[in-house]
Symmetry: C4
Subunit: 370 residues, 4 copies
């Protein structure tokens, strides 16, 4: 790792974003028909390496089910509108209809209503009854409070997602979640993050997590960089965490922890690059929020945007581009990388000569601008 001197008393590493890189074909090409995009985590196999970001703008019970039926993994935010309101239709409309200058205030008000545990149970049952893999997410702050209800309701996969989740959270005021103990006692596989460095990810892997989210869930709906000065160029973050996966595989004598890129994924080209850097799958927010079925109705926001004292994101317009199926599987009627994203992934793998996602992690990469 070459070091850069910021000044005489500070050095830094270089980081690369997906925009800074591209994949490069080599001497062999393949038929896109022969390409597989399937992956497995724990006992669950998926045709598509797509995990939904648990965000109310993209995931309702209905869209989680639809995504599951198409081959991905839907994840419902168990601290979102669907567990606060019996029927959040009116609240979603309020958010969609708010003026720009009022949007943050509307979000803060709508999300102030307490979570109703019985709704957690009901929502998860609805997804389970549809016959797809059931996954819900909690923030690390709420995991201790609601995890029993979640487990009793029954999930196949549990997601703990925050801006930054560490294996070692220290607080003088609140007894923090002991991730290692928590995961050890659970019956279900846990996906946890975000983490953006080798060291943070390695420690999360040692807690027993089945998957690690890489990034800060950033992208269009986040302002982590302006407000907190925190940023992780995603290509570098994914490649670093992939190294942690490799080293932990050795250290653990064979536990393969899945690396799921979470942030900065606006186009199919970005998904291609995430896997090229070592991701096993991608967690998508913006791209899914653009589906015609998305509850956000063309608007997109993250859990950081509803914070009462320090919002770190806002409601942003992403548009309603196409039905979910076209976004995932095509056909596309535009060439901007927001539709037929799995067709694009297959064609990119075929063009560069790869048949499987795991092999494609080795594809050659070029830095465009330096």
């Amino acid at each position: 790792m070459s070091d850069i001197n910021i000044g005489k008393a500070k050095s830094a590493r270089r980081g690369f974003a997906f925009d800074d890189i591209a994949v490069v074909p080599t001497r062999r090409t393949r038929d896109p028909e022969d390409v597989s995009t399937s992956w497995s985590i724990d006992a669950y196999r998926f045709d598509l390496p797509i995990v939904a970001a648990p965000m109310d703008s993209a995931m309702s019970p209905a869209t989680a089910i639809a995504l599951g039926k198409m081959g991905g993994l839907g994840v419902l935010d168990l601290e979102g509108l669907w567990t606060r309101y019996e029927d959040p239709t009116q609240q979603l409309a309020e958010i969609a209809n708010a003026k720009d200058e009022d949007a943050t205030a509307v979000l803060q008000r709508v999300y102030a209503k307490p979570i109703q545990p019985e709704l957690i149970t009901a929502r998860l049952k609805e997804i389970r009854d549809a016959g797809v893999t059931v996954a819900g997410s909690l923030s690390p702050q709420r995991t201790a409070e609601f995890s029993d209800i979640v487990l009793k309701a029954g999930v196949d996969m549990f997601v703990i997602r925050g801006t930054t989740v560490s294996a070692e959270h220290v607080s003088k005021n609140v007894e923090p979640l002991n991730l290692k103990d928590f995961i050890y006692q659970l019956d279900v596989p846990v996906i946890v993050g975000g983490a953006a460095t080798y060291s943070a990810a390695l420690h999360l892997m040692r807690t027993g997590a089945a998957g690690v989210l890489v990034g800060f869930g950033g992208g269009a709906a986040s302002a982590t960089r302006n407000v907190l000065g925190i940023h992780a160029p995603m290509a570098t973050a994914v490649a670093d965490v992939a190294a942690a996966r490799r080293d932990y595989l050795d250290e653990s004598g064979g536990r393969y922890v899945h690396v799921i890129a979470d942030g900065g994924l606006g186009t199919s080209g970005d998904i291609v690059k995430a896997i090229a850097c070592g991701a096993d799958a991608v967690m998508l927010g913006t791209i899914l929020a653009r589906a015609g079925e998305a509850p956000g109705q063309g608007w997109h926001w993250g859990p950081e945007a509803v914070n009462a004292s320090l919002p770190r994101g806002s409601r942003v317009w992403v548009g309603s581009h196409a039905p979910l199926e076209n976004i995932l599987l095509g056909p596309a009627d535009s060439a901007d990388g927001t539709a037929n994203i799995m067709g694009a992934l297959k064609r990119s793998m075929a063009t560069t000569g790869y048949l499987e996602l795991k092999e494609f992690q080795r594809v050659d990469v070029v830095v465009n601008e330096y």
Copy 2:
């Protein structure tokens, strides 16, 4: 080749675009009148190092003939409108008149009509009768199907052009074209590509190709980068493939395979830089589509834009700048690098002290931004 660490588990090479570089004069200057821009491929000699991109927006039989008479090489797309319609005038008008939001759909519909083999024969005859070098192109997918008809119709040069063409295409469903066998059995020289790396180009050279297209036919009409995440900064791609030419020259005991830059060439300055990086000639789409005679009537689109499930380009407005002759040979009435492109090339060579294209490949180059 210095390596860049993207992250702990991934390294990459640096790539440079034409915009990143410029040529630099040295101590001697020449008279532009003394400069020659001629080049030869196989038995054919051309005054201008210009090969037309086989795109319906730029090339009709008439413009292919006109280009040939001015000293370049016209190439007709044998899977385009001219071999699907007896008279594509109406279809070209439909494309030109379509609203932006309908353009992709119009392209998809118009190109859905099957190719008529007898039109291939007729179009090539029309070009041959005009007394210029005859060249037509097919995609690798269609080469096996139509090559017999093409050869029977008679061509001087055969172009196989796709986004990425490899010497080793593997498919479980379709028997792929064996390029080496195919070229071996042909009587005519074959130009094939795109390829963007040393290795891919070297393998194409070993198939017996007379010329290799460098790049993905990119530029204004392509969205390969956003959709597929694939990109080849052109200055680097050309310089890499030029190295393959040099090494193959040694390996083959003297076969000189021509390197033809194909993509990213929007101005005469870009053409200058392509040759400075080692290209023997350039394949032009956008620049020729700007001619008053161009069938696109100011619009430009590539074969990727008509794909039914995953369009990777769209119809773009490039304008009608000047008659073809002014674009190629001047006089220019603007200073934006889109007219008198051969006058510009001659002056650039003269200013930096070179008389021949082959020598100009050694001109000094500077990286503007790093």
Copy 3:
């Protein structure tokens, strides 16, 4: 320090701006409630590492007092409107109401009125009576002339601030201020700058200064770069001066001179990065000028803008965003890094695992673009 060749006869160092870098979390996270942002300089302790830039657009006696009560350090420009006019209300209105093309002329006229020493005394008394730490600033040119009055009026802290202040100012016309003698004779701690290099800062530290301002007070209100060609990328400047602090600590046998970043600080993220590069505190102009209470009424200008022959800044619109308290301590109603800046700093420190500002100077940093 790696050197860059500009050309054969000139080499340079690389410099980084705050925008070029970001901080990166590691394996531990903290509770923002546990984080302290306090710092001390000489005998004075502050809850917030915020020193106001002595600019009339941001600091009146009233806002200096308000800032002090909230935990920061207000600094009044003792050569500004408040010491030229008994009541500058009308002058502030003239500046705020001037058309863009007249603004520089209005500033030049309004600031042409002589400084009235008795107003220096009165303003400082007003601040002292409010019970907060009293600090006023003079330019190096005026320090000799007015410092006696200032000291007699009584200040807790004295600021000498110019575009560039050196320990060794040489002039044939005017007897320059001997900083070392001056500071030695003073009873109060002195903060002096701007300086932007290791060497310049080290010499300032040797004069006995308690704090050094890093930068040229740049940012929105300055045109030092276009006009003078002088620029100091702030991340590098802060890291260099932090090294001077460390080396001077050793050289002096234990004098810790505080490093205060002054310029380029437009968002809470920038403040985070300044401290990450080694700053002990930040001097803020633009951010405070955005307060509803700010005398500039949404306009911002610096002392360079009023220069009669060579203005190096102009009146710029920064807007009135929120009450000062919200800007400093929240709650924020937007996510652009201009409000709840201390909440953001605490959260950033917590997210990256730090409890104290001094420790946070060691946080990992990444270079985004290279």
Copy 4:
């Protein structure tokens, strides 16, 4: 000089523009009043290191005289309107009033009128009679034809200026100017260029030139980069040619050839950086064309813009900012670096601790973005 691999068959050097760098203060500051900006070339001493670019938009006999009286060196283009027309007032009005789309054609028509040798004599006499240093310029193509007339008319300094001028111009059609013989036989000092590399400049120095112009006269009025692909990042070009000056000084046993930056100089900050990179003086076009007295009346164009077959520039709007005196010596009423450029240079030198231009060539430089 570190090399960059463009690709396997091509390497390049890095180049830096003025925008990429800035000067940095060190530990000492000076009083601007003590700074001298004078320089001498041959027997001529100037208070200001400013040579006018011989362009009709900036230089008339009247403005050449005015510049001379203020301490710079005016240079009249002896192939421009003033030697083609007895009174070019009407032609200048036609150019100023032309619509954008007609401007190139108007330039081509107006400049088609032949040069009248007697006007060369008359214009130079007019300048001489005013008592300032007399300088006129010819292109290398016309130097042989008109130099006798120029010398007979009497000049103090002779400028040979083209896009690229080499010591060794080779032509099969025209007997090229033998610069070395020509300069040897002349009585007056010659300034010649543009050159942009160490080698090209060293050879020009060996012809006996008194000064070398660095750059291609680029800037706002030129399109050399788009059209020809030729570009020389100016900071690097100046630093390279300064090295040639140093080496030639040794080689020649003491001949100091002056380095004059010519191009890319839009603000006083750029002038500062040119000298910081090693220039002895600067040749200004755009900045002088902005004077109220400039014949271009707010428009600016170069000799490349009138080329009949390959224009490499166009008429551009630069505006009428201020009287020439304010532009050179102030006072300035804006902070964009276009007025009081000598005041800015003096202040920049003072701020960084330098009294003389020659010393200021050693000032520290930082690369802002890398």
